[in-house]
Amino acid sequence: MPGAKLAFIGESGSGKSTLLELLAMILRPTESDVFSFCPRSQDDNHDIVAAWQAEDVDLLSDLRSRHIGYVLQYGGLLPYLTVRENINLSWRLLHGPGEDVAEHWATRLRIAAQLDKRPAELSVGQRQRVAIARALAHNPTVLIADEPTAAIDPLNAERIMELMVGLVDELGVTLIVASHAHQLMQRAGLSMIDHRIDASDPKSMRVTVSYAA
């Protein structure tokens, strides 16, 4: 679903993060029926379950670096790198050192003045903007955000959601957000998705996702 903007809504402990981690291919599924990743078209098909079973973690790493941008609840910035270096990280992993794409993204996310500071000098909201810039800097197919605004005041949260949605619309990136802020997601124009967790056996969590387009 290229360009789709989806939101998983639920209280903490409802399995949102688990679901996003599975989608981001950083959590090994204990059991799965079908999970294939088709970044461009149905023909460009990667069987993620098979990759996990074959321990082909390099394939997963490569898919992540190419197609996925991930925004964590607390930014997940590297404290010893500047904002500029943090933003460049994902892009340079793919294309090697050289070009500086941080300026562009910092301008888009209105943090250009913070480029040469370290994350510790920034406010939480600014850190989230840096995290979004880093998640988008390498032109991913999918942007995954786990509670991107939970640690930010409502006013700022609204602005950041607007910025993020504006950018993914413009870039045609699929957006998947996990949040407990139902109204905020609705106002930002995201489609709500139901996910159900079979809690009968907590050791092997089963997630059923249903989506009405």
Binding site: S17, A24, V57, S61, G76, L78
Partner: protein, 383 residues
């Protein structure tokens, strides 16, 4: 990993280096001279014997023999000396000590050669008022057929041995001169010096004694036993040697125990800090993996970082060690007569670097393996 880590690493390594420095300084520089002392290495024949060229050849071929020269009868091995260029005019009687290249008593001084050059003991040189480079006149007398005969022999002093080397009036001479003096005393002719007398006897020459020095103090016992087995009664300082040996052995054992404990402790201390440092970075590693870095690539990072820290810490410790070494050596300089109490060889620095890198790489590899096995999602949830 920071400057703090580098400093804490060198703080643990420095005492270990100093300890080793003291071990090698004290054992190496204070015991080594004792172990090299010719007085301990010498083996003296107890009586007079008869030793031919074959015997000397066989003895000097032995690996535990450092130096051996023939000695003539003590009664024949003396000479009167008069200094040439001084006003003292004093004549002294000296013992002749056979010498040659490698004589441990001369300790690197130029050995006497042929019939012209000799080395004097300190006492003899002082009494004659001569030093190296001066000339002497040797005076030899014999009574042959009721007639008093005297020969004068011009000699050049090439070296003066230390007072410790020979405590009486003595002159180190070559085998040629020693044999010539014995021949003269025995009434035989010495062609090379133009001295007349009875024709020298044919056949191999036999000597009454020898000057023998073992290669090391550890060789003295075996050498003595070998000579005893040949029926040659000898005197040595085995009792003193055993004292030195046990002192050396026990000191070494004590040092190695302390150093062993310190080295293991150092390895563990450094290894666990590397491990802890890697563990602290779990979240950052997870972020890197989330960004799409390959696991193998980022696991190299802490290993290289640990190595770099190890090398830097080692470097700081080595530099600090030199300061401590200089301080210790100047502090104790008076007590040990200029020898250094603290000293390390290049091989010790290399060994400590290898230990450092081994501890770093083992700990980093274990920590890295743990990181690699970690599900990236787990560390991400640790806020």
């Amino acid at each position: 990993m920071s400057a703090c880590f580098v400093l804490s690493l060198s703080a643990v390594l420095l005492p270990l280096l100093v300890l080793f420095g003291l071990k090698f300084g004290i054992i190496g520089n204070l015991l080594e001279p004792i172990k090299q002392d010719p007085r301990y290495l010498q083996i003296l024949p107890a009586g007079s014997g008869s030793y031919g060229p074959d015997w000397f050849e066989a003895m000097s071929a032995r690996s535990d023999v450092a130096f051996i020269v023939p000695r003539t009868r003590a009664i024949a091995a003396t000479m009167r000396l008069r200094a040439q260029d001084t006003d003292t005019g004093r004549i002294i009687n000296v013992e002749l000590i056979p010498s040659a290249t490698g004589d441990p008593v001369l300790n690197g001084l130029e050995p006497p050669q042929g019939y012209e050059t000799v080395a004097l003991s300190k006492d003899a040189a002082d009494k004659l008022g001569v030093s190296a480079g001066d000339t002497l006149e040797g005076i030899l007398s014999r009574t042959l057929g009721g007639e008093q005969q005297t020969e004068l022999l011009p000699l050049t002093v090439t070296a003066v041995a230390s007072a410790a080397a020979f405590a009486r009036d003595g002159m180190f001479v070559s085998n040629d001169l020693l044999v010539a003096v014995e021949d003269f005393r025995d009434g035989r002719s010495v062609g090379a010096l133009g001295w007349s007398g009875a024709t020298a006897t044919e056949g191999p020459r036999y000597f009454a004694g020898f000057r023998l020095y073992a290669r090391s103090i550890d060789d003295v016992a075996g050498l003595r036993d070998g000579l005893m087995k040949q029926g040659i009664d000898v005197r040595s300082r085995l009792a003193d040697i055993e004292l030195v040996q046990s002192l050396d052995r026990n000191l070494s054992i004590v040092f190695w125990i302390i150093a062993g404990i310190a080295a293991v402790g150092y390895g563990l201390a450094f290894g666990s800090s590397v491990w802890a440092n890697i563990d602290r970075k779990r979240r950052d590693f997870s972020v890197l993996r989330l960004t799409g870095f390959r696991t193998r690539g980022i696991v190299w990072f802490p290993i290289l970082q640990a190595m770099l820290t190890g090398v830097l810490g080692w470097l700081v410790a080595a530099l600090a060690y030199f300061v401590v070494q200089a301080a210790l050596n100047s502090l104790f300089a008076d007590n040990v007569g200029g020898a250094s109490v603290c000293r390390l060889l290049p091989v010790h620095f290399i060994a400590s670097l290898v230990l450092t890198l081994a501890a770093a790489s083992i700990a980093a590899a274990l920590g890295g393996r743990r990181l690699a096995r970690l599900e990236p999602s787990l560390a991400l949830r640790e806020a």
